[in-house]
């Protein structure tokens, strides 16, 4: 049985970035990429559970779904979709820059990506706080803080004890008011619950994504990357694309039903 000695394999191509368990940088890179892909599959299954619940209840409460979707802030979400799609582009450019060893462009693109990610979170946060403000009886988050400008119709779209779906949006409406809220409450509430769960889970991923991007930026600042070694940028980029793709599914399912 022939053998390669440890020293032979290690000493030659032993950059600082090659970890002890790997033979070659290529092997390290391939393992990291494969690991990331496997992780992405896991993530898709994670959201798969929510999509499953979505399908079941959309089938059970078709009208509630339609009426509820109308109350989401579609213009803001559309802006958010564009923001995320652009960030996907900047991430791809960042990976490209790392491949070419262009540190300056890499840093610019990473910064842009993080800025876009942050924008997404701010807009999302506004969307959420709008819902919470309505629960508190205010018209929008700003008047909620200042305590002025009450909301004209009472509604509360945050699932929980205070949940109240506004009258005028219900298809049945009219004289059977009390019965109406009792029957449709559950369907509407489920919609908003799944909305908060899905987008909240997505937002958590986005926050983690921002953390990953900051780590990569710090590594780039410290000159850790070279055209032969930029695996973290690549797998970080993969993760970012995953966040985008999940949003691309969430957006039509919740806002455009």
């Amino acid at each position: 049985m022939a053998t390669i000695t440890h020293e032979e394999a290690h000493v030659h191509a032993h950059g600082p970035e090659l970890q002890h368990q790997f033979e070659t940088p290529e092997q390290q890179k391939e393992a990291a990429t494969l690991g990331m892909w496997a992780f992405l599959v896991t993530e898709i299954m994670l959201f798969g559970g929510i999509f499953m619940a979505y399908i079941v209840y959309r089938w059970a409460f078709p009208e509630a779904w339609e009426e509820s979707a109308a109350l989401l802030n579609t213009p803001l979400a559309t802006v958010n979709t564009v923001v995320l799609l652009v960030s996907s582009l900047t991430v791809a450019l960042a990976v490209n820059a790392a491949e070419e060893g262009n540190k300056r462009r890499l840093l610019t693109m990473l910064a842009l990506t993080m800025l876009l990610g942050l924008t997404f979170l701010v807009i999302k946060g506004y969307e959420y706080s709008e819902k919470f403000a309505h629960c508190a009886g205010a018209k929008d988050p700003i008047s909620w803080i200042t305590g002025s400008d009450l909301h004209e119709s009472h509604e509360c779209l945050v699932p929980g004890r205070g949940f109240l779906f506004p009258e005028e949006h219900g298809a049945t409406g009219g004289s059977h008011g009390a019965a109406h809220t009792a029957s449709m409450q559950s369907g509407h509430q489920l919609f908003f619950l799944l909305y908060f769960c899905a987008t909240g889970l997505h937002a958590i991923h986005m926050i983690i994504g921002l953390g990953v991007m900051s780590a990569i930026t710090i590594m780039a600042l410290r000159d850790r990357f070279s055209p032969t070694y930029f695996t973290p940028v690549e797998i970080g980029g993969l993760y970012w694309h995953l966040i985008d793709i999940i949003w691309v599914f969430l957006f039509p399912l919740f806002y455009l039903v």
Binding site: A60, F61, E63, A171, T172, G174, H176, A179, H180, A182, S183, M184, S186
Partner: protein, 330 residues
Amino acid sequence: MRDFPLFPEQASTFANQVDQLYFFLVALSLIFAGVLPFVILYLIVRYHRSQKVDRSNPVDSNLKLELTWTLIPLALVMLVFFWGAFLYVQMRTPPARTLDVYVIGKQWMWHVQHPNGKRENNELHVPIGQPVKLIMTSQDVIHSFYIPAFRIKQDVLPGRYTIMWFEATKPGEYHLFCAEYCGTEHSLMIGRVVALPLADYERWLATPGPVVLPDGTIDTGQAIVAPSIGDPMAAAGARLFTNLGCLGCHAMAGGGVGPSLQGLYGATEKLADGSTVVADENYLRESILNPNAKIVAGYAAVMPSYQGQISEDQLNQLIAYIKSLADTGN
């Protein structure tokens, strides 16, 4: 042997059929689990390292052998699958004419109401030689209605009806268990099934007796009407139907805001979205509690929900009433 049974009693038409399949499976298992260990025992003794035997030309693969022990078990499991499948379909499909008994499960008791309005707790009286259909629902968590001597079990879910049917063959008292874990007193959610000859069953039906209702109030059990006069459960449903104002929209002659319910039960309804649905108990239940889920073609979605307005018990009565309308329609 009375206190140490090794095999359950057979007291329904299913019991013997299920047992036959079971014994067939046991026999098959004995061929594998009984013979294979002896083959292994033989091999490990004969080829133990201390034995001087012929070990030349060991083989480590043989396609024919692999196919043999893939295909023979495959054929056998397919046989038991189809046997089991036919029996299963039969066990899950109630015949057209059955005695309908309503069952409500709650933590931790069973409440039963017979078609003439007679109620009982943690007991189920049934006639022998007569197919009985249980229409079951739960007030809280998932329970499971299990009669070992009948070889039948069905989960009882909140928010919908589940159906189970059987035909008892032997008079006697049998165990009734809750088989789905339902909380603290799960193991006390038991009772007995009393199978009686038809005449005794009818006599029992007419005997008044106080009983605790699912909401905790006590029913004196006085208002029992002989089964021939009418169906008090449906009659109670009819009173509810009037009191709740259902008649205002569901005019019996048709032409109301809502569809007529005459002859509805068991019929196929055409819905607004073009699909069709068979009007069974679960459809009726859904249409009362969540009317907008399925809209009959030609009508508007204007019916309010009765979720939280009526109890499971009242719902059973309403459905018994609507079912009685189908009978007069014929």
